[in-house]
Symmetry: C2
Subunit: 159 residues, 2 copies
């Protein structure tokens, strides 16, 4: 059903929560604030740390903090850290799909994949905190049916 994993969902929530603090936050504290199970949060934080999205200090009085401001972290970045790179099918990026014989679509999924990836990279965690920037349709307004009608480089939204 083309959904991202719950862990990725949690990761975004956790990151946003972390963004509300200026000092170090411990894993248990984050778990309590987000309402998520503590071991899961701890596991998540380790993954995000390993990916460079967080910084940590060990020992007593230790904790986690963001390595970047929320606005500089895209949804795609968080998802990639937790679930691995975005790949809509196994065929993407030269991956091996089972349909080697009659599969005429090899490589074609890259188009879909790139489109999805670009969409996710266009949304930052800061955008999530304030919801839709200019009304509900604000963000997705830039995405419209246009393979036939759109000229290359016709994007006029981003400055």
């Amino acid at each position: 059903m083309f959904k991202l994993s719950r862990l990725a969902d949690y990761a975004v929530v956790t990151m946003v929560e972390l963004g509300r603090h200026v000092e170090l936050v411990t894993a248990p504290a984050l778990a309590q604030e987000t309402g998520l199970p503590e071991p899961t949060v701890a596991k998540l934080l380790k993954v995000l740390l390993a990916d460079g999205l967080l910084q940590s200090r060990r020992g007593a009085r230790g904790g986690y903090e963001l390595a970047l401001p929320l606005k500089d972290i895209s949804i795609a970045r968080v998802i990639a850290a937790v679930d691995g790179p975005v790949m809509v099918t196994a065929c993407v990026d030269g991956g091996d799909c089972g349909c080697t014989s009659g599969c005429s679509l090899k490589g074609k999924w890259d188009v879909v994949n790139d489109a999805i990836r670009a969409t996710l990279e266009a949304i930052s965690l800061a955008d999530m905190t304030r919801g839709a920037p200019d009304g509900a349709g604000g963000l997705s307004a830039g995405v419209r049916r246009g393979p036939e009608s759109a000229a290359p480089g016709a994007a006029v939204l981003g400055g």
Copy 2:
């Protein structure tokens, strides 16, 4: 890892293969041409038929055919038929997520979901057969970072 199901992948392959025929095609024939297991193809065809994407004739000399031309069928349509509607998280469209207490992101995922959905609706099966419509970046060019700068209703791509 944010991938669509294998069945959805298979469905697209099968639909495209169907698009290469003008007459009725049987499930076994499609299975052979695509290299996919026969029972799986048969199951898939029933689902696609139930969703109105295909037409069928029963009995001897029966088979399946497309109900619409390839260019009028979006990837999103096929995925929705096989996997259900696109929902990046359970929170989308008023769905119930577990994080009811401290979840400050309720409803915010709709933005992401709409963006993804729009992206998938912008790609037709015909686009898959000929690869990228206007170059690799052509499709995703419509998706750009613009929460601050974009005015509501600023979409100019779709005619």
